[in-house]
């Protein structure tokens, strides 16, 4: 029994326990196990389960087999097991047990993956692929496991997408896209998944986009193969993109959606970089050529073609000769179009020659003639010219090409239609002066006059035009035409005679003389012309003499003067007259700005002299040999032109009573004193600068005077030399064009310079320089020290300023009043700048005004009289004598500043007053002020109706006043103030930072680290140095190419920093000249200034420069006056030197003798320089960076360019930012604030009224100051506000 008992199940359990199997809650240590140990324990538990089972069965079997009678045989045991199915059941138990740990493990792994995935996941759907846990786990996973966690693939894709879409520039090592590479590596062990990721269409798209961008950006084009590899982009796909892009490039197609129109910069780069092979290169070249022939400007150069494809010379030659026939055919086709477009053969011949030379073709007219399309093109050319009303050039050649006589082409119905159309076009479009053209048109084309007759309206228009024209211009119409049109021959002559007279009185000598040339007059008619022109009948021959001397390059004032002074001039012999003309020409061509500003007065004065050649030489030497302020030169010129005998002869009873009775010596002294006083009290700039420099050198000069230069120590010698250099610069800026050395210039010794200074100041033997300076500039003005001159200038200005303010503040109802005794002077607006600087002086002192000739040596004024005032302000000005002398009246109140003198009375001159006397020549009101008066004496100005309604002209006056630096009120003809102190302040603020105009300090607002754009601005600041370097490199390339071209034309370029006045100059007036260009974006806007004598070569030089360029688009144009504007877009190389990116080059041609004005670019440059000098280098860079940022923001908002966007353009933005303290945020806010009223955007028209962006510089073309808001269009205004608001964000 016992044994049997032992077989009880209970026993089995006991046995198991006794075996020490740890199981169930009984095992107390399990909670202390690590997860790994736990996992291990799973296995041991299972093993034990299995082992114990086996043990038990074996034990039972063993017991059953053993010993006693009841023992069982092995067979019986097997049978029993069989019967029970024991083995199977036990196995199934084991299996079930074993299953559990697997499941737990799988679940545990999943949990682990989930954890890693969760840890690596990012809130925005991204996935951190860098976590070591993920990196370690990835290779252990099956594709299925990975797919169970979609965030892995999705996150990886997102990471790729982010990388790809954030890159806009790839550097040489491609670090920006190294992520692509890393991900590729990471999934090395998971090729299936990797493909799935990299084949995502969106990713492929982004790859394509980035790859293409890289390909298109000239800066990264060469990196495209590297980018392809680093992105692990399919090479075939890359190749097809490259091919497509190259095709687009060679075909000049443009995809506006893509960077740079979707074209590569360097064709050969991509051909070799992607190993496309020679065959593809050749194919592309053929396409290129074909497309080139379809361009507006099809004049290609072999060198450029070769370079584009990087063919060697022999390769290219071979390629061209193999394909010569195809290529030539293209040229022929294109030549037909040229023929059609230009209606001339010459251009075709030139075109053929060009390609025969360049590519070794054998193009010829014979082949062209044999082309079936040729005749059609000839006809198109002829008909086109006819219907446009343009002439055929070299008609004979066209005739030769045409298989049908051109007469017949034009004679048939279509031809006549075209001609008729042309005639109508001409009548509709052309101005009267083009009638000559109309005539030729009719004559040359063999136009059937009956056709005109057939339409009464056409007939009458033509007749009317021709009749009108006959009055004005020389006509050579065939008699039959005139007759046909029903105009009488005798009428024609009469009309022409009237024309001559009319042209001469209006100063249009060009037309007057051309008309005169066509006349053959009877003596009676000659007498009539003479009477009309000179007021006497016997001067017709003199008119013919003048006609022979006439040159269109001279200003009309020369001929007007000669005609006005005909009594004097008609006695001159031809040589004498010729001398006047030669001298006039010299003055006109002078590159001296000082001369140009005084040109008209100087010419007029010269023509009054008896010996102009001598006078001119003397005047010239005054400008060359004298380092003097303008006042000194004016006085010297006066002395030359008015020696005592002439002076004496000009005195009349109406001349200043004081001058009349004074001794000769006294007269000159009085005049000098007056001039000096006038210049001092007008705060004349030239005098001020002169005195400032003298002041600096005063001590050292005194020392040199006392002890001699030898005695100075080295330091003092340097100082003296520096002083001379400064004085010299001042001189050079104003001197007359000459190759002679300037007085105190160059490397001559200090002693020589000193001697020259003495010479120019006329220092007498035994006199010191400082004594002489005192004698010249101090004593006549009643002053003792040089400082006093400056002080006096300041006093005069502040006094006048305050007076202006007081006058306005006292004004009743915003109106100023005139009082009895007030003086009025009429002037032309164009003289106002001169008058403000030099005072209003009589023309003998080169004063710029339209004074009457009746009273020399004084400036005319009209006195307001009691009776004038009865009808109010307007009547008073209207009745003044000044009304006839210009649109602007200067009003001077009698404040006791005048010494009133009377004819015949002997009065001692008072040196602190201006002599005022009645001349009475033009009536009771006619007064004169001896010599003139300073601008600070002007109490206010009156703009007459014409001027007051011309806002543009008026604005000029306001600017001139503001620029001059003190307030002068301006009223309209009713006395209403139209230029208030507030307006003055606004205009004046535009001169902040401009020392030359005594501008106030420029207030600079730095970009602070707390500003939201601090980082952006700092980033740009970082790039400024390298931008400056890049600009210099490019500009040097351009400069040397231009220099080469000039050299070929025999013109010398003035070396930089050379201060001499002759020689060509190349100035950068665009943003690159100030480094305010967007770094990486280089458009050059240059001016090439040529000496007047070289100017006729401008077009030739421009063409030569163009031939040095590889141009994408040529927008150049020339003006009839000889001015030329070269506009080359997309220049890839210059003189064979390739640029890294295409750049635009604009070159305007100008004469050195053109009056140069202080332009917008000068103003910006000076303000930036001011910041650099006074605030510091960092501020300077920040100001530039702010400008660049503003340009970028506006560009991105399509609110920048003038034409395309309706914005205010580059120079406008620069002005705007500087007007807002060089701070983009301030500018943006001010603009936005002005654009809103009660949270609503005001319409553009409203906005314009309250917001202005004024320019201190003068528009070079219109000679006025721009208000950039006026240049905007409404859509530009809206776009700008949108861009600004987006940039500022809400609540700022």
């Amino acid at each position: 029994m016992k044994k049997l008992d032992s077989l009880e199940p209970k026993k089995v359990e006991t046995k198991a326990n006794a075996d020490g199997v740890k199981q169930g809650p009984e095992s107390a240590t399990e909670s202390e196990l690590s997860p790994e140990q736990l996992e291990e324990k799973l296995d041991t538990d299972v093993a034990r389960f299995e082992a114990r089972q086996q043990e038990e069965v074996e034990r039972m079997d063993r017991d059953a087999l053993s010993g006693s009678d009841s023992s069982l045989s092995s067979e019986e045991l097997a049978e029993a097991k069989e019967e029970m199915g024991l083995v199977g059941k036990l196995q199934s138990l084991v299996d079930r047990v074993k299953e559990i740990p697997d499941r737990i493990r799988a679940r545990n792994l999943d949990r682990k993956i989930q954890r890693v995935v969760k840890e690596s996941g990012e809130s925005d759907g991204g996935f951190n692929l860098n976590r070591q846990s993920f990196v370690d786990m990835l290779p252990t996973l099956s594709p299925e496991q990975i797919r169970r966690y979609p965030e892995i693939i999705a996150g990886t894709k997102l990471s790729l997408k982010r990388t790809l879409s954030s890159v806009d520039y790839v550097s040489a090592d491609g670090w920006q896209i190294k992520r692509m590479d890393e991900i590729w590596e990471l999934f090395q062990s998971q090729p299936e998944i990797r493909n799935e990721i990299f084949d995502d269409p969106e990713i492929r798209n982004l790859e394509d986009t980035l790859f293409l961008r890289c390909l298109l950006d000239p800066g990264t084009q060469h990196k495209a193969p590297m980018v392809r590899d680093r992105m692990h982009m399919d090479p075939e796909r890359a190749k097809s993109i490259v091919l497509k892009t190259l095709r687009r490039t060679v075909n000049f197609e443009e995809d506006p959606e893509l960077l740079y129109g979707g074209r590569v910069y360097n064709i050969s780069e991509s051909i070799s970089g992607f190993q496309l092979g020679k065959e593809v290169a050749e194919q592309l070249f053929l396409e290129r050529f074909q497309s080139y022939m379809k361009r507006d400007y099809p004049w290609g150069h072999a060198k450029n073609f070769r370079n584009e494809f990087n063919f060697s010379e022999s390769e290219f030659k071979d390629l061209v000769s193999r394909n010569q026939e195809i290529l030539e055919k293209e040229v022929y086709q294109r030549s037909l179009k040229l023929l059609e477009d230009h209606s001339e053969i010459d251009i075709v011949v030139r075109f053929f020659k060009h390609y025969n030379d360049e590519l070794g073709f054998s193009l010829n007219l014979e082949t062209l003639e044999s082309m079936p399309e040729m005749q059609r093109s000839v006809e198109i050319a002829v008909l086109k010219a006819a219907s446009n009303g343009t002439m055929l050039k070299n008609r004979d050649d066209l005739e030769y090409l045409s298989k049908v006589p051109l007469k017949d082409v034009l004679g048939n119905e279509r031809g006549q239609e075209a001609l008729y159309e042309g005639l109508q076009a001409l009548i509709a479009i052309i101005k009267d002066e083009d009638i000559e053209y109309l005539k030729t048109y009719i004559g040359e084309f063999g136009f059937d006059l009956e056709a005109i007759k057939s339409d009464p309206r056409t007939l009458s228009s033509v007749r009317r035009m021709i009749a009108e024209q006959l009055k004005r211009l020389p006509m050579r119409f065939p008699t039959e035409t005139i007759e046909f049109l029903g105009i009488k021959e005798e009428d024609i002559k009469d009309l022409k005679i009237q024309g001559v007279q009319r042209f001469i009185t209006t100063g249009d000598f060009e037309n007057a003389f051309t008309l005169l040339d066509t006349l053959s007059l009877e003596p009676a008619e000659e007498a009539k012309v003479s009477k009309d022109v000179f007021g006497v009948e016997d001067k017709f021959d003199f008119l013919l003499k003048i006609r022979k001397l006439y040159k269109e390059t001279l200003p009309p004032v020369v001929f007007s003067s000669i005609i006005q002074q005909h009594e004097r001039f008609s006695n001159k012999n031809p040589e004498q007259l010729e001398a006047y003309i030669t001298i006039s020409q010299k003055i006109v061509d002078s590159p001296s700005q000082e001369i140009q500003r005084l040109k008209d007065s100087l010419l007029q004065q010269l023509l009054e002299t008896e010996n102009p050649a001598e006078s001119y030489q003397k005047i010239e030497s005054i400008f060359i040999k004298n380092n003097l302020p303008t006042v000194g030169k004016v006085y010297k010129v006066f002395r030359e032109l008015y020696p005592p005998d002439v002076f004496e002869s000009k005195l009349q009873s109406s001349t200043s009573p004081i001058l009349n009775v004074a001794s000769m010596r006294r007269r000159y002294y009085l005049i000098y004193q007056d001039l000096l006083k006038t210049h001092i009290e007008s705060a004349n700039r030239s005098l001020r600068q002169y005195v400032e420099i003298l002041l600096e050198g005063e001590d050292i000069l005194r020392e040199a005077d006392e002890n001699g230069i030898e005695a100075l120590d080295d330091k003092k010698k340097t100082k003296l030399s520096y002083f001379f250099a400064k004085l010299n610069t001042l001189f050079v800026n104003s001197s007359l064009g000459t190759n002679e050395t300037a007085p105190i210039q160059g490397d001559s010794s200090l002693e020589k310079k000193y001697a020259r200074l003495k010479e120019s100041l006329l220092v007498e033997e035994g006199q010191s320089v400082t004594e002489r300076i005192g004698e010249m500039f101090l004593r006549p003005a009643g002053l003792n020290r040089l400082e006093d001159v400056l002080e006096k200038m300041r006093e005069a200005k502040t006094g006048a300023h305050q007076r202006g303010l007081d006058l306005v503040s006292r004004a009743q109802g915003e109106k100023l009043e005139l009082d009895e005794g007030d003086l009025l002077k009429g002037v032309n607006v164009e003289f106002i700048s001169n008058i403000l600087q030099n005072g209003s002086v009589s023309k003998e002192f080169l004063g710029a005004s339209s004074d009457s000739d009746a009273t020399p040596f004084d400036t005319d004024v009209s006195q307001v009289q009691n009776t004038d005032l009865e009808g109010g302000f307007q009547t008073a000005t209207g009745q003044s004598l000044a009304r006839g002398y210009g649109e602007l009246l200067l009003a001077i109140k009698d404040r006791g500043q005048f010494q009133k003198t009377e004819k015949g009375s002997k009065t001692k001159p008072q040196s602190d007053k201006y002599e005022l006397f009645r001349t009475g020549v033009l009536g009771e009101k006619h007064y004169g002020i001896r010599t003139g008066f300073p601008s600070t004496e002007i109490d206010f100005m009156v703009a007459k109706e014409g001027l007051a309604s011309d806002s543009r002209e008026l604005e000029k006056v306001f600017y001139e006043i503001a620029q001059n630096g003190y307030y002068i009120p301006v009223t309209d003809s009713n006395g209403k103030i139209i230029f208030t102190p507030e307006m003055y302040a606004k205009y004046r603020a535009t001169f902040d930072g401009l020392d030359r105009y005594d501008g106030d300090s420029f207030e600079f607002t730095p970009t602070k680290s707390s500003d939201k754009n601090f980082e952006q601005v700092s980033e740009v600041v970082e790039k400024i140095d390298s931008n400056i370097e890049q600009v210099s490199i490019l500009s040097n390339k351009i400069r040397s190419a231009v220099e080469r071209v000039l050299d070929q034309s025999g013109i010398e370029m003035k070396p930089m920093y050379d201060t001499s006045i002759l020689g060509a100059e190349l100035l950068d007036i665009g943003s690159t000249g100030r480094y305010t260009n967007t770094p990486g974006d280089y458009d050059f806007d240059l001016t090439l200034k040529l000496d007047a004598s070289d100017f006729s070569k401008a077009a030739e030089i421009a063409e030569r420069i163009k031939s040095e360029l590889d141009i994408e688009k040529d927008d150049s144009h020339s003006e009839a006056s000889g001015y030329y504007q070269l506009r080359a877009k997309g220049v890839r190389s210059m003189g064979g030197e390739k640029f890294e990116k295409p750049i635009d080059i604009d070159i305007g041609f100008a004469k050195k003798s053109d009056l140069s004005v202080f332009g917008p670019h000068d103003a910006i440059q000076e303000k930036l320089d001011w910041i650099k000098k006074n605030v510091g280098e960092d501020a300077y860079k920040q100001a530039i960076a702010n400008i660049i940022v503003a340009k970028k923001v506006l560009k991105e908002g399509s609110a920048y360019k003038r034409v395309e966007h309706g914005g205010f353009g580059g120079i406008g933005v620069e002005n705007w930012i500087l007007a807002n303290n060089g701070n983009v945020l301030e500018a943006f806010r001010a603009f936005r604030d002005a654009a809103y009223e009660n949270d609503n955007r005001v319409p553009f028209d409203e906005f314009k009224k309250k917001y202005k962006i004024l320019d201190a510089g003068m528009n070079l073309k219109h000679l006025d100051h721009d208000n950039y808001i006026e240049k905007m269009r409404p859509e530009g205004y809206e776009a700008m506000l949108n861009a600004i608001e987006a940039y500022l964000g809400p609540n700022s």
Partner: protein, 54 residues
């Protein structure tokens, strides 16, 4: 954060282990019953043999 997650995972594992143990117990019970059944069968066969000899 990560470690507490890990703790939670461990906790989950431990719970699963407990479930495993109780499942193991159930299976052990089945195992025992099967073995007892086998043992009984053997005993029965031996008793039968003895009885036939008696």
């Amino acid at each position: 954060m990560a470690s507490s997650k890990k703790d939670r995972d461990f906790e989950d594992l431990r719970k699963e282990y407990e479930v495993f143990l109780s499942r193991l117990k159930e299976l052990e019970k089945e195992q025992r019953e099967l073995l007892v059944e086998y043992s009984n069968k053997l005993r029965e066969m031996r008793l039968k043999k003895i009885r036939s000899k008696l």
